[in-house]
């Protein structure tokens, strides 16, 4: 046991990788899901244990050296409250969504490709967990590509339902590769300046470089700044921060239901995490925000993301796409939180990472039920489903209330901290934007809710409530999203720890 516990940081990434490889070579049909389920359940247990370990440390960090090679020569994994939280989000959501996936995926993906699907599924989760846990900038790129490549394929597997999934996947491949490539170019520039790839090490070696800039002989000034610009743009794209959100709506819309749920609740969250890590730990707030004013750019982008994303969400007729645009707006809230760079702001960001993953994940799962039972997710497919799928649609509605930020839902908690953070910085206009975003969310949620409960179906099809294996995960996620709105002590404590940690390491 002690061996496992000591090697947790490595196991959490290696387990899904190995299991994914095994899944891809086994021939027995139906075994894929069981392997994915076992792996993600184990992953959840490991990340809970890791979180407990991290919070019990005095300095709130757990370091791990791959193969005991010392950094910066080997790859070091470093877990602190921030990435422990994100690990929990990713492994929790992937476990719940895998639980849900069996019937949904079987109905949307050809039977012959199921094992292949679950192998990719596990690779994707490997990548996401790896990005979160690694302390090495180049290793982060490798894992980013692992998750991205598997995601492209997962999206393309939606082609059985709609050929547009292929177009969406191709778009995603092009844009995602550019984003990853930009990130890699950024890392290369920093390597040139510092000669290191370990995040903590780079941060340390950047200090004398920053110090030299005011003087007669500035070293590597252009190199570092250009490197950061590439990283910022590349990660903005991974994060789908407006205006670089172009790949997201179609990828989410035409992917298989479970994939949409997994992407919406984890992929952009990990992107946001990577951005936070680069700004706060790698480059330092003093450089990224204080000197280069990236915070202003982020505030502009996130403010626009909230308004434009919500506005476009209002105009959608496909509910999956509506939720995708809503995600773009919600990413705006997350980015806005850490752009404010005060305790409430980062707390809001991290809480929203968590709450939005639960809420949006739950809503996509509810839509997956609609896909499974009705065969489409356009507004007219949802007409009058309030009576036929009362539990699923109730869950969807409760999730919608969370998107608006109604009190006693988790969305309210995030927005509360976000608005407080805006007010603390004296950014009243941003607080105003957050509230306008809520009103717009009210409109797009209302459009769907009205259709669900008041819409008249022309075709009197018999639709039964979702099977338990799909209903239970949906209710778990939405129930958790409501629970953390009523009792937010767990999430606020975690997010507070993460915020304290990030602000303490401010150079």
């Amino acid at each position: 046991m002690e061996l496992i516990r000591h090697n947790l940081p490595a196991l959490i990434v290696v387990t899904p990788l190995v299991m994914g490889l095994l899944t891809s070579i086994i021939g027995r049909r139906g075994l894929g899901w069981w392997m994915a389920m076992a792996t993600t359940a184990a992953g959840l247990a490991m990340s809970v244990q890791l979180l407990v370990d991290v919070l019990s440390q005095g300095d709130r960090t757990v370091e791990y050296l791959m193969g005991n090679w010392p950094v910066p020569f080997g790859i070091g994994y470093s877990v602190d409250p921030l990435n422990a939280t994100v690990l929990l989000i990713v492994s929790l959501l992937s476990a719940v969504i895998t639980l849900y996936a069996r019937k949904s995926v079987a109905s949307e993906v050809p039977a012959g490709k199921l094992n292949f699907f679950y192998a990719l599924w596990l690779f994707c989760i490997t990548g996401l967990l790896g990005i979160t846990i690694t302390g090495d900038a180049f290793n982060l790129y490798v894992l980013l590509e692992i998750s991205s490549l598997s995601t492209y394929t997962l999206v393309a597997l939606g082609k059985e339902r709609n050929r547009r999934a292929l177009t969406a996947a191709v778009n995603y491949v092009v844009l995602g590769s550019i984003g990853a490539c930009f990130y890699l170019v950024g890392v290369a520039y920093l390597y040139m300046a510092t000669g290191s790839l370990n995040i903590a090490d780079i941060a340390e070696r950047l200090q004398p470089i920053y110090a030299s800039w005011g003087t007669e002989a500035p070293i590597y000034q252009k190199t570092v700044i250009t490197g950061f610009a590439f990283m910022a743009v590349g990660l903005s794209l991974k994060l789908a921060l407006f205006p670089l959100h172009g790949w997201l709506p179609n990828a989410y819309t035409y992917a298989p239901s479970s994939v949409s749920a997994l992407l919406a609740s984890t992929a952009t969250k990990v992107g946001a995490y990577a951005f936070i890590r680069v700004v706060f730990t790698l480059m330092g707030v003093g450089f990224a925000f204080g000197r280069l004013h990236t915070d202003v750019a982020l505030m502009l982008c996130s403010g626009a993301a909230i308004l434009v994303g919500s506005w476009l969400a209002i105009r959608q007729n496909n509910v999956k796409k509506l939720l995708a645009y809503s995600s773009i707006a919600q990413i705006g809230y997350i980015a806005l939180g850490f752009a404010l760079a005060n305790k409430d702001g980062i707390t809001a960001s991290v809480i929203h990472l968590f709450n939005h993953a639960l809420t949006k994940g739950g809503m996509f799962l509810a839509l997956g039920v609609v896909m499974y039972r009705v065969g489409g997710t356009r507004l007219q497919d949802l007409r009058g489903l309030g009576r036929k799928l009362p539990l699923t649609m109730g869950a969807f509605t409760a999730g919608g209330l969370g998107l608006i930020g109604v009190p006693l839902t988790s969305g309210f908690i995030s927005k509360w901290y976000l608005v407080s953070a805006c007010l603390e910085q004296g950014r009243y206009e941003l607080a105003g934007i957050v509230l306008v975003g809520s009103v717009l969310a009210l409109v797009y949620v209302w459009r769907v809710v009205e259709t669900i409960y008041f819409g008249k179906r022309e075709d009197e099809v018999t639709v039964r409530e979702a099977p338990a294996s799909m209903l239970v995960p949906t209710l778990i996620l939405v129930g958790a999203s409501i629970y953390f709105g009523v009792d937010s002590s767990f999430t606020t404590h975690l997010a507070g720890e993460a915020a304290d940690f990030l602000l303490k390491v401010k150079p």
Binding site: I178, F182, L244, P249, L292, T294, L423, L435, S438, S489
Partner: protein, 600 residues
Amino acid sequence: MQMTDLPPAAVLFAGALLLPLFKGKWRFAVALALPLLALADSWAVITQGGESFIPFMGMTLQPVHVHAATPVFATIFCIMLAGGVLFSMNDDRRVELTAAFVYAGGALGVAFAGDLVTMFVFWEVMTLGSTIIIWSGRQHDSYGAGLRYFGMHALGGVALLMGIIIVVTQRLHEGAADPLAFGHFSAMVDGWSHLDWDNAGMWLILVGMLVNAGAPPFSSWIPDAYPEGSTSGTVFLSAFTTKTAVFTLLVAFAGVEVLIYLGVYMAIYGVVYGVNANNMRRLLCYSLVNQVGFMLIGIGVGTKLSIDGAAAHAFAHIIYKALLLMATGSVLAMTGRFRLGELGGLYRTMPVTMWCLIIGGLSISGFPLTSGFTSKSMVVQAIVDESSRMAALGEPHTYLIVTWFLFQAATAGVFLDACVKLTWFIFFQKDSGLRPSDPPWNMKAAMIGFAFICILLGVFPGLLYQILPYQGEAAAYAKVVYSLEHVMVMLGMLGFSGLAFFLLLPILKRGSYIHLDIDWIWRRFIPRFWKEVLLPLLQQLDNAQKAILESLPGRGMRDPSLPAPIARRMGNMWAVSVPVFLIVLMLLVYLVAYFVLPTL
């Protein structure tokens, strides 16, 4: 479990859940019993104390708390619900009845809310309940009116929530012991005329509450939405939203001077628009604004007597306004007509309804021996007292004198409008040829019961005075309320205002008209401006953008079958070219900014 462990609002919410399970007489019995149970529970909590506390985000929620004004408002909310249920019971309106319980439960929840978050949650519950009541009204514009109503209150709710967040944030920074507390914002009384960061939160809360109170410029939602309820729905609607707003203003903003000005405006506005109104229930909605104006004046003056007066007036008003709307609702139910010009001569066959309407009309005008007389005159007296106190201190107080005269004028006006005019046009004027009978027994019983309360409170004001926030002041005032001089002042003023009505009758002919209000801006001007100015402009821009994009390389990947209005172009990024272009653009922007900004 003791009764005091049960939050009063929970009784009504339980009712909302239970009622759909019952049928026929049983539902009737349960629906009547629950408000009375809630009343008993309220008083158990009020007398024995049932404060409860719940931890929330490191702070404390206090969902059951007894404010000084809680007894009077909790009592009237329960009585009102019972009366409304009785009135509605001959017609099977299951959705409306359930919504009414949610709505009244929200109102009762606000009356017992000890913290801002609880208050806000119940506030929004009320919005939901009342919107559903409007939607189940089945009048010709119920749906549209309900949407406008909901939009208005959603915006008011956002202002309220924003204000609460700011206030709580400020209190947290100051290290306040109970940052969520819902009580009097003392700082606002002195600082109301300046708007700065330190009271911005309070201003927003004030605005949120005023939207619900029907204060200008948002008075028009009352006459817009309420007449679209069903006969019983409008009765429920008239009671809770505005009076809950009065309650919260009374708790939080007593003594804020701006309320006096808003109140005077509302008092006059209600009469001026009411005189022109042709829809009898809309006329009563205008007079509702007028009466809430009187309450705001009482809250704004802020002395103990004026606060008592505002609270007492809210109590009396709920009864007689409900009575008036029940009477007009009966006329609507029995004739199917709501325009005053199409009614007339009904005194022959609807005597009970007529007398109930007259008693309600006399009460709303403050006629001696009715509840309006004993409640409204407290506010009038408080203005005089405060004015002489300030005169003795040498402080400016002309606005109080002006307020007093305008208050009296509006009182005369509302008698002319809501009592004489309404009675005359419905029951007398020409013979419309209609011979409807009085309404079914339950509607009559509800009307007679409420008419009885109007008279009861007029004759024995002490019954109401003893549950007011400041009972000492009220008890002292009870000794002078029926002075001969006071009675004669009202008789003279009201009598001659009635004379003015009959002298002016030739110009008071009814036509099928409405009168534009400030809501014209968002119902007509903004939609038209959007459709005829902004949209064509955007389309021009769209064409320009299209031309630019078409000239870019790589447009071949765009799906040519897609139409391209401006917003859809941003939504349907099928082609890779635009996002890639944006990526490069962003990189350029970042690089330029990074290299230029630090050198500045």
